[in-house]
């Protein structure tokens, strides 16, 4: 069975784009089989055989709560592929029925809130680190640059959340 590894970086706020890309790969016959930091390992299957989903968990995937959740998703017929930091990846055969992780707006909003909190936490951390480091070396500017990128990401996530909130007023 053919295998392939692709190195690619996605910012946390581009998680939807990441999922779309993984499903385009699966649609072409390359289903995600293993994940690593910025590394995606694919195996060749029938085109469109698998649907891939990803999400950020509340806790580290090694913790008992997370393990219980992963087992729960597996019990619904999905396969656990692996994790990177707090992100977990699943796949399910398209023939075994539709595969989504979230079917209502509140759980999508919870997921977004988690990512926003993480982005904002990292932003503040880099801001403080950068300001502190600048007193000793010019490299502190790198932390500040990262803080700016994270602030931009946080802003994009907040916009996404706003759009969902508007939708919820009518739908739930």
């Amino acid at each position: 069975m053919a295998r392939m590894m692709i190195k690619r970086w996605f910012w946390a706020w581009d998680f939807e784009e990441e999922e779309v890309w993984l499903n385009e790969m699966a649609y072409q016959g390359w289903a995600l089989d293993k994940v690593g930091f910025c590394k995606y390992y694919f195996k060749s299957y029938e085109p469109g055989e698998y649907v891939v989903r990803l999400q950020m968990l509340e806790n580290n995937p090694a913790m008992a709560e997370s393990q219980e959740y992963i087992a729960f998703v597996e019990d619904t017929g999905a396969e656990y592929i692996g994790s990177v930091a707090r992100w977990v990846y699943f796949r399910k055969k398209a023939a075994d029925g539709r595969f989504e992780l979230f079917s209502d707006i509140s759980s999508m909003m919870n997921q977004l809130r988690r990512i926003i909190n993480l982005a904002l936490f990292c932003m503040v951390l880099n801001l403080l680190l950068g300001i502190n480091a600048l007193q000793y070396s010019p490299f502190g500017i790198l932390n500040l640059a990262l803080a700016v990128i994270l602030a931009y990401g946080g802003y994009r996530l907040l916009l996404k959340k706003k759009r969902l909130e508007k939708k919820r007023i009518l739908r739930e």
């Binding site: 619904t76 992780l101 759980s107």
Partner: protein, 111 residues
């Protein structure tokens, strides 16, 4: 207990399917079947809902069976009461809708 609870469709079906003990996948299948394929509960959403319903005491997790790692859930007396009140609320919604919309149709037929 809160007097004016409005259940989401997902919670309504979860409670309804848990009149008999079921595990997560069973709830998903039964809900899809009952709603003619219209209501599909995704795994993550269902998991979150089951945990919060357990915390509210409307459902409970059954003692785990050593032969299977799948956790089963069942409705509690509180959950049953909530479900019945919701049914009364839904009935009122339908009755009002039918009375007023039905009246409109009759009116149109008279013309």
């Amino acid at each position: 207990m809160d007097d004016n609870v409005v259940l989401t469709e997902a919670v309504y079906y979860i409670l309804l399917t848990l009149l008999k003990p079921r595990h997560g996948y069973g709830i998903m299948q039964m809900t899809e079947e009952l709603s003619g394929g219209r209501v599909r509960l995704a795994a993550g959403t269902l998991y979150g809902a089951l945990n919060s319903l357990c915390r509210k005491g409307w459902i409970e997790a059954l003692p785990e069976d050593y032969r299977s790692r799948k956790k089963e859930y069942r409705i509690t007396a509180d959950g049953f009461e909530i479900l019945q009140r919701e049914l009364a609320r839904l009935r009122q919604l339908v009755e009002n809708g039918e009375r007023i919309l039905g009246g409109l149709e009759d009116g149109e037929n008279d013309d």
